[in-house]
Symmetry: C2
Subunit: 293 residues, 2 copies
DNA sequence: TTTTGTATCATAGCATCACGAAATACATTT
DNA sequence: AAATGTATTTCGTGATGCTATGATACAAAA
């Protein structure tokens, strides 16, 4: 009598898998609900649901009254083929429709609700998220207006200029400290991308990996506002960068540059790492200038 | 049969006054609804309401069928004694209550609605705004959690570090261009503060003027993401900087520094201006370190 | 023709209720 | 005692209807 997994459960499932892998839990070991619930910051209820789901998939053995036991170590979460959550996904859809001129420049909430058949609370979260990256803004009275950032090529340049200000500086921040676990995982992902044959369908996963790379560096800076700004930039870039149009060659170059930056940072050569990151961003900027609309 | 002015009308009223003053409209000149509505990006309905309100205050003469005529040039909007809007104001209240330990570290939306007797949509806007500056975050399941930024002295340092990255850079941005109107108005406000005797009650107005100064520089950079970041920082600082605790002497120093920066920028000496702004921020940072909790 | 006055429509916010699920307390088993 | 099973409470979301007011169309006056 399994129900459809809920939003929370869908988000929790990959985190449980990460938990199993990063803690190095071996087959035969029992997973306790309370421990997981505490780690995930939720109650036992959704944890239970996730564990039952994993049991159905054969990752866990469910034994009545004796909890769940790991059967086989699960694969790391499949390469993401979609944005991290539904709000983000819907933001993307709205942005695309606007770019294809399927939406007027100004529009009311009710109109959007009708067009997309969504509820107001959901729509509001979407609009506020779009507003956070300056893609739309509330008009003084009723309705919302799209800002020119979507079509505007200069917006992309400004974005790179902004990132050039903060991202290299993040590396040079006094408290900069990389997390070893993150470093290993990020390396693994990059190497996987270099090894695998290029498929167009992987461009979303590529973007998400890149975003995680830059966010990870920002997080390592120890400055929460740098991290906030980089997260915001990532969300913004998601709207225009989901389609990788530069071919596999650029994928390789980009991945290698990321890996080299990580190498330098691990050696403590932060100035070099910052310089490499600066060049990396400058190249991306001029590429986007060439290909830009 | 005048009703209570609505939110929109309260926001529009000072903008109409600004309109009158900045356009240099003289007494006896007629204000047309359509022109104002177009300028304010709203329909005639709320404009009408505002004009009627101004007529009651004696600023305008209402003549049936012949619209509204300016009677006397209104004073510029009184020095703001409150945050720019109600959401912001409520954010402030929540933040204060948290700092005074009147709120637990984790709390549900329903609980907040009961405590403050507000509607959910309003509360959601408040929470999302607080989340935007990393003061709270949604827990994975139900409820929200306050982040340590409020009590944390290091958060303030990080904020200054972040601003040191972007604000001087804003001045040096290639497209930097100050608006003459803004410059004059900002100068006038600063000089008024220097001239007037210091009152503790003016600390909110002081903060808002300072915020507008920094935001204006960011806007002049021509980089929308710098502007976005500075706006965000201003909103964040509003929570901890509404009480000016450094005395009138520091007010004077700060205002004079602002004015000198403007002087230099007007002369086109942007490097000097950027350096002065850098020093200005560094001084504020070390001051906050001394007085900081 | 342009602007105001007036009527009508549409919008956004609020209140209420219902429901699935998360949180939590208690019972039961190991 | 610690973990799981089960029941109860609380929470957050969606659906619906209502209302003040913003948007708009049309009439009337200047």
């Amino acid at each position: 009598m399994e129900h459809e997994p809920t939003r929370l459960q869908r988000e929790l499932l990959p985190r449980v898998i990460d938990y199993i892998r990063h803690r190095g839990i071996r087959p035969g070991v029992r997973l306790t609900e309370l421990e997981l619930a505490h780690h995930l910051q939720v109650s036992r209820t959704p944890v239970r649901a996730v564990l039952e789901q994993l049991a159905e998939e054969g990752v866990l053995d469910a034994r009545p009254r004796r909890g769940f036991v790991l059967r086989s170590i699960p694969e790391p979460e499949a390469a993401p083929g979609a944005p991290p959550n539904e709000v983000e996904q819907f933001c993307l859809r709205v942005a695309r429709d606007k770019m294809n001129n399927r939406l007027p420049q100004e529009i009311s909430e009710s109109d959007l609700m009708r067009r997309y058949n969504v509820t107001r609370p959901f729509l509001l979260r979407v609009l506020m998220q779009l507003a956070e990256v300056a893609l739309v803004e509330r008009k003084p009275g009723n309705g919302w207006a799209f800002l020119p950032s979507l079509e505007d090529a200069s917006a992309r340049q400004e974005s790179y200029d902004f990132r050039l200000l903060i991202e290299p500086a993040a590396i040079l921040a006094p408290g900069f400290a990389l997390d070893a676990l993150w470093l290993g995982e990020t390396r693994r992902q990059h190497e996987a991308f270099l090894a695998a044959p290029w498929k167009e369908t992987a461009s979303i996963a590529l973007f998400e990996m890149n975003a995680a790379f830059h966010e990870g560096l920002a997080a390592a800076s120890g400055n929460r506002y740098i991290l906030l700004a980089v997260r915001q930039q990532n969300r913004l870039r998601r709207f225009s960068n989901y389609d990788w149009v530069y071919g596999f060659e650029r994928v390789q170059i980009s991945c290698r540059e990321h890996l080299e930056i990580l190498d330098r940072l691990e050696l403590g050569e932060r100035e070099v790492g910052a310089a490499l990151l600066r060049r990396h961003l400058e190249q991306a900027r001029s590429l986007s200038r060439q290909f830009g609309e």
